[in-house]
Symmetry: C2
Subunit: 282 residues, 2 copies
Amino acid sequence: MVPLPDLTMRTSRLSINLATVRQQWNLREAVEACARHGITAIDPWRDQVAAIGLAASVGAIKDTGMKVSGYCRGGMFPAPDAAGRLAAIDDNRRAIDEAATLGAECLVLVVGGLPKGSRDIAAARQMVAEGIAATVPHARACNMPLAIEPLHPMYAGDRACVNTLAQALDLCDALGDGVGVAIDTYHVWWDPDLPAQIARAGAANRIFAYHICDWLVPTRDLLLDRGMMGDGVIDLPGIGAMIEKAGYKGYIEVEIFSAANWWKRPGDEVLQTCIERFSSAA
Amino acid sequence: MVPLPDLTMRTSRLSINLATVRQQWNLREAVEACARHGITAIDPWRDQVAAIGLAASVGAIKDTGMKVSGYCRGGMFPAPDAAGRLAAIDDNRRAIDEAATLGAECLVLVVGGLPKGSRDIAAARQMVAEGIAATVPHARACNMPLAIEPLHPMYAGDRACVNTLAQALDLCDALGDGVGVAIDTYHVWWDPDLPAQIARAGAANRIFAYHICDWLVPTRDLLLDRGMMGDGVIDLPGIGAMIEKAGYKGYIEVEIFSAANWWKRPGDEVLQTCIERFSSAA
């Protein structure tokens, strides 16, 4: 029996994206640790689920009463040929099924970058639009919201060619119901158009997830040097207020890839710091 | 006497930003090497000019008949207090004077990021707008165009809080004559709005400089891992065609910061490769 957490109203909205402690624990260990710390929601990654199995993952989540604020991740739609693009769509349907089995509130989509050998980013973007469109019917049938995550422009080549909130929302407008956005402060904080686009996303009820971490100065690695809230230069309270004002009432998910720092610390210290900084710096 | 170069019409538009060979040569050596290779234009950095002196720099440029496609760089307007912001404006006036003495076609502005200790990027952007506005009268008096360079969003914290071409052009619209943009493929290639904004810049006669290099996948360092044209994923011919169609007829400037690769090679090899790739991949 997990002790009842002593949580303020806001802290009850904290979710831990399990990438944050991926080097310390497997999924069951991470979920149990979150429960020990009074955290009530998590977002697991597909490889973490695969590592212990889907049934065992569901079991760990049920045993702790954990909510699943999202599932990471679908996407990666562009491919050099039609067979590759069809395979990606199939894989996204499986990810939707897994997300539904886990009881996730949405499937996060990291849409993919340029296909190998290509420099045609407009074509890659078209592949993304077509890939999501082909995935939407199954997502709707499963009642699984798809959350397009615009990634920082430094990932346009290799991870995601959807790079601004405006671009993601244009996609949503074209795709219709059941598609929204995952807004991650790390990816969007720099955008001069951010206030307007957050308001637009809220007005359209498209904010399906909100992820936080900080941007370190200097940043020493393009992928694995994200900062704990308060250690960088992002105005997290300011962006958080915009998100609130836009009507978002869901989980606030901490997602930190940090090979040289947080991934090397004890997982309990990481979770405790997430909780403290969630209150003091976000 | 420098031998007459065997250059095609297009190659006569090649300029070398001297950051590309900053580890190999001082300004005079670099200018003389460019002349040996039949290159007719360069863009020096202020520290390179300072290292041998302004008069010696002018001498080296005159001796070789080199054109100066731009001068790097003014900017860095945000500061924690008014005294710091005034000092930045004074420094930009000096940079304008140097650019005029060197016969540069424009002064490139890297506008600066967040002031130390600040997370208020809107305030930093306001400081930039005010700083450029305070610099414009002197620039106009000296007939020195100011080229605002939008920098990649990964530099928003520490180098430049102007991060899209649209944002730079909005600034230009507010500032009036004598202010335009330096478009660098490295900074803007990912932007879904790029075609529209290049057309907008051309229609307003705001394209003052065009810089090229490539985006490597993977990129191993945020600042010093830029690629030679053809080694990365940017559609340089495609962007070049947009720039041409927008009416730009000026120099095409190669600017590559590459600590682990090109800065370690012999300067003559770097210049020869720039010339070859300028024809084959840009």
